[in-house]
Amino acid sequence: MKNLKEQQMSFPDLAAWVIDQTKKAGAQDCRVSLSRRRLVEINYRDRKPEVIKEATTKNLYLEVFMNNRFAGQSTPDFRQSTLAGFITGVVDNAKIMEEDPFRTLPDPKYYNGRTNVDLQLSDPDHKLITPENRHEMVKTVEEACLLKGADKVISVEAGEYDESSEEFVKSSNGFEGSSNGTYCQAGASMTARDEGDRRPAGYHYIGCRYKSDLPSLQGIGTEAAIRTLDLMGGKKIATSTVPVILENRGVARVLSGLFGPMSGGAIQQKRSFLADKKGTTIGSKLLTLTDDPYIPRGLGSKYYDGDGFPARKRDFFKEGTVNEFLIDWYYSRKLGWEPTSGSISNLIVPPGKRSVEAIVKDLHRCILITDYIGGNSNSTTGDFSVGIIGKLFEKGRFVQNVAEMNIADNHLKFWKKLVEVANDPWQYSQARLPSLVFEGVVVAGI
């Protein structure tokens, strides 16, 4: 068994060796990405451990560029004795591809300008988390959920997940980048007794880069129970046209329908309803959407993107007008446009001044949408349709929980219905978005 083990090189040394070997195998250019991740997961149900899982994963991804041909492949096997054959194989795969003049590594001039700011992506205290800490965290969350859920509880599952990761990327034309990260999450899901055979299940999971940034564990467990109890008695109501409020944590479910069509691939492949809309107003004045990679400890914060371009702050929409697309290197060349980066980081919408509670009081009749089910969005036409779960209010007073209902619209019409932004940006996601209020939305039910 000793012959399955080899001395491991450091990431920079291994990357340099792979690039050297790949070029010797006939590639003109190449890029190698190395990553390693350590993860731990603990779940409890009925006050005892249900799952304990722990492991380390690693990956080497090699992209080969030769004579305008391309192949990308990955392996978890870092031993030089097997990598030699792997590299030859990737080069052989690239050789059988058809020529594509746009398949190259980026022009190195686009690698310049990376920030030196410490984005605090890795918690120096992460390694201090012990197995005992993890079990205590889960027990605390579970007990708080059980306490709040009281006699309505059928089942509570509480969990802790944490990971630490490192990556190193190097290209044959001068790009080199590395990044370490940590993540720690705690939460619970609860199933409750309701009318008849209904057993509504709610959940509340919070994740942060630093364990110390997690809110109170008791609070997390309590909130999981509250969100479950808020689903009790959910029923559909008559189909009607009403104002709806998308709760902050779920806004991305609808907003994500805008990102596919903003990509260079969708635009170049004629699958984007936004392709000819740059500079055009498609939403209300309140639709300003910023991509900010520099938020310290942000879950989407980063130094560089997949092409090696330095991350930068930018506005996708300004006061309802399409300002910038997601153009990576490959599709920038196909479109003949300047690249802008093909990936997002942290999404920001400027918060408003009022809370959701205050807004609800001013609306005659409205539905606060707290979760979604199913649905899809057509990137070519902008049509979308998605199931909703939420609460019905009249004159600021809670009337009933709603379920089995649906909203549908076209993005080019829907975002013009945005009439107010709440003051509650959600902190625990890379979509750091506040609740949004839309008027005149058809909510389908009975």
Partner: protein, 514 residues
């Protein structure tokens, strides 16, 4: 143990194509060994009985009901065509072992990508931390299980080489453009994989399998009067290259173009409750979401499914029979043996309207005191198995499809479905209709598109009032079911049938069409 042989490993990338989430992946299957299942991990990785016994003993060193080892070596490749050229090649490898210790319904789990003794023993030690008792003994001998063969491949099957895929993709591209001058863009792709797995359990059972899978797809954009529409189609399953004939290429291209062009005339239906007729085949996704997940036994033993108290009770009209089947030839959800060592089976979930069985893994089967149904499945060695569906379908009735449409009178007819979701505890579900027709006065009229349909599983099941005699299975290869963060390939089937009432999520209230 022998050194791992030279091989090519590839990376998985993701891309949406066709109507379901497709995961284009890998090639380079030529690097897999040439022998069919049987001693593969011994020959290639030196995994012998001695090391298996040692690992199982470690996993049970602090007690537990049983432990198992899941070895996996999967190589996959995706080739993609864009703008007339096959210019994308992505690949991936999955190699490793997952080690599970089970005590009651509790699971300790460790995995490693390194098949050396030190790493594997460490993973076994992680799994053992679940327990704190005296060691449990391991079976005295290992016996290979007898399994079916529901996706036979040639003994020298090594996967589908990239060179073979190129002409098929070029052909799809040509055919799509030839079918209509309105076609402006074609994307085509061919994903294939070959996976070898071996399960060894502490009760002495052992099983190996070689699983081929893949699909070919076309995704088309067409333009008419300044308006664009897109749609697609895919075919595949657990098959080798012999399936991908010129006829298959023509069917994929033809359906992709036809589905796209139909959308130019499509409207969105009115919103609200109405009768819904499910066309045959792919609409079985509704069965999967609305009913199948709720019958997965882990949800029921935890008492969190709406079906938790319904075994032996009437849940549907007497003509309704629902099956979850691992034994269909070459379908995406077929399995010779599941991922914890139970041979593939056919399981009747609803018989003559009565709920007769849940979908079990070993843990839930023990909980209920029944035999495992062969539904313990996992995405890969990094995940432990849980009850999952395979190929789920409803048997046909006696009516004709026209009878069913006539009976609906006014409502919608569902032809093509792209995705769905269910909330287990409430039973509420949704599925997205990418294509369909209005039903007016008992006849099919205007095409419809892009509408989400909502309902409640138990209510929907009780509201199936008529079924036709035209059961059709979905033959696409891109169907993926997600649960607890794990994706597994599945298929489904449905005859034309009438659901008395579901909520249709249109953009206008009844009384006007948008």
């Amino acid at each position: 143990m022998k050194p791992i042989p030279r091989r090519k490993f590839i990376q998985r990338s993701t891309q949406i194509g066709g109507s379901l989430l497709l995961l284009p992946a890998l090639e380079a299957c030529k690097f897999l060994g040439t022998q069919s299942s049987g001693n593969y991990f011994l020959k290639e990785f030196g995994i012998d009985e001695s090391i298996c016994r040692k690992l199982l003993a470690k996993a049970l060193s602090r007690g537990g009901d049983f432990a198992d080892l899941y070895f996996e070596y999967a190589v996959s490749n995706y080739l993609g065509l864009e703008d007339g050229k096959v210019n994308q090649s992505y690949g991936d490898i999955s190699l490793g072992v997952g080690i599970r210790t089970v005590k009651g319904d509790q699971i300790g789990y460790g995995f490693t990508q390194d098949l050396n003794e030190e790493s594997m023993m460490s993973a076994a030690a992680t799994a053992s931390t679940l327990c704190d008792m005296n060691a449990t003994s391991v079976g005295s001998s290992f016996n290979s299980l007898r399994t079916g063969n529901y996706y036979p491949v040639a003994p020298d099957f090594n996967g589908i080489p990239g060179q073979s895929k190129l002409p098929l993709l070029q052909d799809i591209n040509k055919k799509c453009f030839a079918l209509s001058p309105e076609v402006v863009k074609v994307n085509a792709g061919f994903m294939s994989s070959a996976k070898r797995m071996m399960v060894v359990a502490s009760d002495g059972s052992q099983a190996e399998d070689l699983i081929p899978s893949g699909f070919i797809y076309a995704s088309v954009v067409a333009e008419r009067n300044g308006k664009r529409e897109q749609s697609g189609w895919n075919l595949g399953g657990r098959r080798d290259f012999s399936f991908y004939t010129d006829e298959v290429v023509s069917e994929v291209a033809g359906k992709a173009v036809n589905n796209t062009l139909k959308l130019f005339d499509a409207i969105q239906p009115p919103a609200g409750e109405m009768p819904v007729v499910l066309g045959p085949g792919v609409t079985g996704i509704l069965l999967h979401e609305a009913i199948g997940h709720g019958m997965e036994a882990d949800f029921n033993r935890k008492n969190i499914s709406t079906y938790s108290t319904m075994i032996g009770k009437k849940v549907a009209e007497p003509f309704v029979n629902i099956i979850d089947d691992g034994t269909n030839m070459n379908l995406s959800g077929s399995i010779n043996v599941d991922d914890e060592g139970t041979p593939g089976k056919k399981t009747v979930l609803v018989e003559n309207g009565i709920l007769t069985s849940y979908i079990h893994d070993k843990i839930s089967a023990k909980h209920y005191g029944v035999e495992p149904t062969g539904n313990g499945r996992r995405q890969d060695f990094q995940n432990y198995p849980i009850p999952r569906m395979r190929n789920t379908y409803m048997l046909g009735g006696t009516a004709t499809p026209d009878d069913v449409i006539k009976e609906a009178a006014n409502g919608i007819y569902v032809e093509n479905v792209s995705n769905g979701q269910v909330k287990i505890g409430e039973g509420d579900f949704a599925f997205y209709v990418s294509q369909g027709r209005m039903i007016e006065n008992g006849k099919l009229t205007s095409p419809i598109k892009d509408v989400n349909i909502m309902g409640n599983g138990p209510k929907m099941l009780a509201n199936i009032t008529l079924a036709a005699n035209d059961l059709e299975m979905f033959l696409g290869g891109g169907g993926q079911c997600g649960k607890n963060g794990q994706g597994v390939p599945v298929s489904f089937g449905m005859p034309t049938c009438l659901v008395k009432s579901l909520t249709v999520g249109g953009t206008q209230q009844k009384g006007g069409l948008s």
